[in-house]
Symmetry: C2
Subunit: 167 residues, 2 copies
DNA sequence: CATAACATGTTATAACATAACACTACCAGT
DNA sequence: ACTGGTAGTGTTATGTTATAACATGTTATG
């Protein structure tokens, strides 16, 4: 394995929601959304989403595949990538470019341009609002260019990791 | 090839600098920087930088390797990745995460957090200032987290591509 | 029930990236 | 000059991430 993605520790910014609640809510929200949009929330799609929302940390496609395999699903790469693409299209999953990994959306009811804070030591990731981040997309439209999608990732070290150890 | 990276067309935002000038200036700037910092601007490093600044478009590591091979350098993967890492450390090259590609820095004299505008049709990329982008990092520091590096990429369609064809 | 659209399965391979080690050149201290 | 350290490059092998292409199954609909 190139990286471990274990997530030993935790910093405040990463803990501002009730995760048990988040899980149930998230499942309900995605169910409602799919119903409303007449999309199929198939067992495979449900499983992939559950794997992601359960851990609520970024998982690589091949980690998701392993989990699928353990749960009796097919685990050849296109399976994961297709479902992930689908869930991303509808905003329930985001890709963390800096980690080549995928994470369940923390704010599925907003139509938002997500921003992520990534600890390079514990690899915990928080999805944040523009407001909280101190970042602001005052006008996401640039002259002569129509922006369709924004990627914003902030990498650094969380308090817990920085206080815990030698850099 | 998975992708072509041809860059057929052009939109205003992508053309706001004199590229001939940019090339010479850039070489001079990097030379001065290396001199000042007592770093070696070796033939290999120079060549990689030239390849990138010459095209001034994002190139994949393996495209750079091909170019190195054509110019008589070794072209095994670590060669490119090592030099690219080195040039990135010093801010002369950036990685475009959305394309798994590398591009020479357009503003090497700023110490900046670059932002990129990427046309998903022609794959042209522009590096922009915070100000021009309408984006602003009002306070890149987040409570309980020290941001070391930001990734900002805006993907969409440039005017030329959108006016040229059916979406 | 035909058929179109969608979903999943499978094989193979492409594209991207790093580990580990070898070799050379150069410089500093003795 | 010898020694040892550092930096740069070269090489082999392999690890990791992602997609193409095609087959099969499943569902909704006329």
């Amino acid at each position: 394995m190139k990286k471990k993605r274990e997530g030993k520790t935790t910093s405040k910014i990463f803990d501002d929601h009730d995760h048990g609640m988040c899980f149930d809510d998230a499942i309900e929200q995605i169910e409602n959304y799919f119903l409303k949009k007449n999309l199929q929330f198939t067992p495979l799609r449900r499983k992939v989403f559950e794997i992601l929302i359960r851990d609520h940390k970024p998982l690589g496609a091949y980690e998701i595949l392993e989990a699928l395999g353990r749960d009796g699903f097919s685990s050849s790469p296109p399976i994961a990538y297709r479902v992930l693409d689908f869930l991303m299209e509808h905003g329930f999953v985001h890709k963390i470019q800096g980690l080549n990994a995928f994470i369940a959306c923390s704010h599925p009811n907003h139509s938002h341009s997500p921003a992520f804070v990534i600890c390079r030591k514990c690899e915990k990731v928080a999805e944040i609002d523009e407001k909280k981040s101190g970042i602001s997309f005052a006008s996401p439209n640039i002259k002569n260019f129509e922006v369709e999608k924004t990627t914003v990732e902030m990498t650094g070290v969380c308090t817990t990791c920085s206080s815990a150890a030698t850099i």
